[in-house]
Subunit: 631 residues, 2 copies
């Protein structure tokens, strides 16, 4: 560890780009069947090796002749030729046309030997059974599509580096090729580290602090999207021998090895040592946020890049530094939709002295222009993976990005599109159904209070607000509903919980919601009322409720805690209690309203939302949601 | 056949769109492994079924405590708690924290039961071995990341219709899902008709008039690109029973059946009868060029669409009418790069009284704007498949599109890009190598004369001109080379052909090039000279050369005819003779020049070409090309 380079040697991001480019990923070309060639890139030029069509083809119904025999023929003075047979399309000519001879021929048929032109049938007349009178002169080549007219043998058909789309597949078909030499796809081994990581689909032991491995499949999908082939390797622990064996195995089998997944400093240390001792460490530490601890090196003639552990950081560094190298190796251009230009929706301060790859979300304004806002959840959150659409690179010396300033966003995928509607606020099961009816909406379950705050800040198109509101924000009410809220208790209410007073008076374990939740505001209003009834102070009352202070984020979380037996009562909805088969003690009914940003009320996504809301009751939005009513 | 609807009942293209939409393609949803889910579309909403993280997690190194026990603690008046054990990251806590107790805890570790807050280690001091002094008050929840903070169980994670990109794969991983419910991909059966069609890779009998089947793989690639699964069925002949069996089999196995490939009227008739007798013919004949004879119907509960036979027409009708229906069924949006806007490079007249789907090529002007020009090869040509980039829909009542007019081009694939360089003119092996060194160039082998004509018309960026030139076009000479031309004869020249005079004086079968070829102009100049020497007329001389009048298109075609034994001599290059192992009788040396459109001389693609040309000799462009010299 004494020789470990320190992060104060952070290299410039351009140096990191160059280092990755210097690693030769390019795999050997391969040959694939034509049916699997779409999307691949030609490894070499394809010259036509045959003529298309491959034969001189009659392009009219008529008579195949030697053109010279018709010279001078016209209506007044026809030439009479001996009829020697006939040729039909799709058959091999059995006749030969000599001087003074003709053969009947149909469109598409092969020109018989000796003939060099076709006289169209309208300018001829049969004379008995064995001769034809030709009433026009034809030059050699007339009404004949010569072999090679479409594609001539020897001609350059497709160049190296051509991306094969359906039309190129068509040309290759015409040339009779059923397999094609294409650029190889670089193979990318993904090594996931960290004892706490569990593969999706396997049992998770939360009690041991296990979490699902997010990075492996995310980065694998990114590799495939960039034109590589991803190979997942089993998890490695922090043990040197095991890590070395795994990394060397991956390096021997793949063109590039990525490690990712661990936030564990000791695992990173072990990898660092393996690369340095067994391979060649090119650089460690890049002046970029996130991704500072990036490693770039070589191992067993393969390239190695170590990605950060947090999912958004890992994907950011992958898309910025690694995906371009994979595309280059595969011969693919950067997708045209890899970046999008938009305007900052808000001002964002920055002055950190190194390049910042800032995760941002997209939305559209009322005229369809793209707006860009920072997604500020901390790089540790998985949800910011889907709340961020891409990254804006902010220069080290940029102090702030002003609202309205144009920025280029590198999307997390060329398939990412700005949501048609951005809504923030109270999570609610009817809202979920409403969103299901819209095309590509985005909802941020930040609670009513935070939703309103953000609406006031100008980013979301609309906020979902439940319960009493202590803040006024200019908005257009699009409609809403009411929902019954109260205490979710164990099925059958075995503790006989009767109401709010029991929470204060009995030693019950309660699970609350966070302060931004509208339902929490409804609870606080009810507590206020109870305190007033009792002539007590509100703090005194809340202090007597065990669990009051800890607010959980999810709207079902309190009920789920009750279902697990971890709590006696949880703040929630009658609909949630019914869904989870639990008991319910009603405390009231609250209103849920959707309030739109007035500037965006005419935006198509908002109008679509308003229209769905308008007919919500009739279209069964509240069906089987206990305690719900349209308002 | 008496009940066959006539083409004069042509329906409006919108009716055809509606008819295809009315056919229900949508296949049943399916479940796919997470590793194969990229690019698919969620069939239903995914709500989180677990909390992420799944446990309350210490976010600091320190002591897990009950917050209430620390109330009032400060530097001056610490609270002393009993130390009951320790908890490390990745392990299950073995202690429980009761009133007045604390447990040592590390970052990322699971909070032990009873504790609700963490005091950071810096604000504590161990007191002996079994107690710790806490010098600050913490509220319940302080320094704890609650279970579900990232994603809360019960929350809406992803909506139905979400396209799965790497980031969504990441969120699904976090939720532990290893398989995902996605929209089914519609299966599309492709039935190819016509006895003359042969699958690529199989032997082609040109002498019987066979050609390779272009449409099957082209349309199959289009189906896959649109999100469907293509299934190729064996060729059907024109026999009713056989065609019926095949169509019914395809309809039973697929959501949609496309027939395509035959230009044979009788095959189309047979299909028409099968659909009408066994299924339901919705419409026949659409007012669109190309594609008039389109059939739309139903068969065995599957949809059926009959595409035109010519490749460009088939792909045009597929992309315009069928691909949108496949995408809808798969739940995929239209790709953002499906269309591009450009300016007409030339004026194009039109007045045909029905919608025209005009194949066009793209190029870019000197400032990178997209220019659009009609590709005019007749819909029968396979090469126009790769010379056209897409289609412009021209309304029936449009009389002309003016040069400079803005048009929308529907690309033949979202992966199609405008070439960086458009060159037209003389085909040449050194040129092919030169083009191989450029990124995405396009070359149209139209011959020197036609290349110059087009250069004058303003479409190509450059023309390749060989031999003597009879037309002057303003241009910038980018450079060139010389090449030796003459007569390609059988290996060893067994007929002892000595020169041009032999062609005129002996009965030799000669294969010429077309009038647009520069090498033909060189030949004609040499004939002129010979005629002058002999005091003969040029026509008298050419008339005595058998084959003079028939010009083949490909630059290797005459030599290949000699190689096949079909001719005694062919007009060609020494380089071609050497490549094909044939004999060569030199007639002269001609210059090949690349001449650029003066308006585009500063365009990057042209500059790149000029730079490659500049260093051509040094970089081995002419290596092993016999008879080539840089000029």
């Amino acid at each position: 560890m004494s020789d470990r380079k320190e992060f104060h040697d952070l290299v410039d991001p351009d140096v990191a780009h160059d280092a990755i480019e210097s690693l030769e990923l390019a795999p050997a070309p391969e040959t694939v069947p034509l049916a699997e060639a779409r999307g691949r890139v030609l490894a070499e030029r394809i010259d036509a090796d045959l003529d298309v069509p491959g034969f001189d083809r009659a392009s009219m119904d008529g008579y195949a002749v030697r053109g010279r025999d018709t010279f001078g023929a016209d209506e007044a003075d026809p030439v009479e030729l001996d009829l020697v047979g006939s040729v039909h399309a799709g058959t091999e000519p059995e006749v030969e046309v000599g001087e003074g001879e003709a053969a009947e021929i149909s469109t598409g048929a092969v020109m018989p030997d000796g003939a060099d032109a076709v006289v169209m049938v309208e300018r001829t007349e049969e004379v008995g059974e064995s001769a034809v009178a030709v009433r026009t002169a034809v030059a050699p080549g007339d009404n004949v599509m010569l072999a090679g007219t479409d594609v001539a043998a020897g001609a350059r058909a497709l160049g190296p580096g051509t991306r094969l789309t359906p039309r190129e597949i068509g040309l290759l078909s015409a040339l009779g090729l059923d397999e094609v030499p294409v650029r190889g796809r670089p193979t990318v081994g993904i090594v996931s580290t960290g004892d706490e990581l569990v593969r999706p689909g396997e049992a998770l032991h939360s009690e041991r602090g296990e979490i699902y491995d997010v990075n492996s499949y995310t980065i694998a999908a990114g590799v495939e999207e960039a034109g590589g082939e991803a190979e997942l390797y089993p998890h490695a622990g922090d043990d040197y021998e095991q890590m070395e064996r795994l990394l060397v195995e991956a390096a021997e089998e793949c063109d590039l090895v990525l490690s990712s997944g661990s936030t564990s400093a000791s695992a990173v240390d072990v990898i660092y040592r393996v690369i340095e001792e067994r391979g060649d460490l090119l650089l460690h530490g890049v002046a970029v946020k996130p991704g500072k601890p990036m490693l770039i090196g070589e191992l067993e003639d393969s390239a190695y890049v170590g990605l950060p552990g947090y999912p958004v950081s890992a994907l950011t560094i992958f898309q910025t530094f690694v995906a371009p190298a994979i595309r280059d190796a595969a011969g693919l251009p950067e997708p045209q939709t890899a970046t999008v230009r938009g305007e900052m929706a808000v001002r964002e301060r920055y002055a950190e002295g190194r390049l910042r790859l800032m995760p941002v979300g997209l939305l559209t304004d009322e005229v369809g222009e793209t707006l860009v806002y920072p997604v500020d959840k901390g790089s540790g959150a998985t949800t910011s993976l889907v709340e961020a659409d891409g990254i804006v690179a902010v220069d080290p010396d940029t102090e702030y990005l002003d609202a309205g300033e144009a920025v280029d966003v590198r999307l997390f995928s060329p398939d990412v599109r700005a949501p048609t509607l951005l809504v923030a606020g109270e999570d609610d099961p009817a809202l979920s159904r409403l969103l299901d009816r819209l095309d590509n909406p985005r909802f941020l379950p930040v609670g009513s209070r935070e939703g309103l705050r953000r609406l006031g800040g100008g980013v979301p198109d609309a906020a979902v607000v439940a319960g009493p509101v202590d803040r006024d924000v200019e908005s257009v009410d699009l409609g809403g509903w009411t929902r019954e809220w109260g205490l979710v208790v164990a099925a059958g209410n075995p503790l006989g919980i009767d109401g709010l007073a029991d929470l204060a008076d009995r030693d019950l374990a309660f699970v609350n919601r966070g302060r931004d939740a509208g339902i929490r505001a409804s609870l606080d209003a009810a507590i206020e009322e109870l305190a007033a009834e009792r002539g007590a102070s509100r703090p005194a009352l809340t202090e007597s409720i065990r669990g009051y202070e800890i607010g959980s984020k999810g709207f079902e979380s309190p009920a789920r805690a009750v279902a697990r037996g971890n709590a006696d009562a949880g703040l929630g909805l009658r609909a949630t209690a019914e869904k989870l088969g639990l008991g319910f003690v009603p405390l009231g009914t609250e209103s849920v309203r959707i309030r739109a940003n007035p500037d965006r009320a005419a935006k198509p996504g908002v109008e679509e939302l308003a229209a769905e809301l308008e007919g919500a009751a009739e279209t069964g939005l509240f069906a089987s949601l206990a305690g719900y009513e349209s308002e």
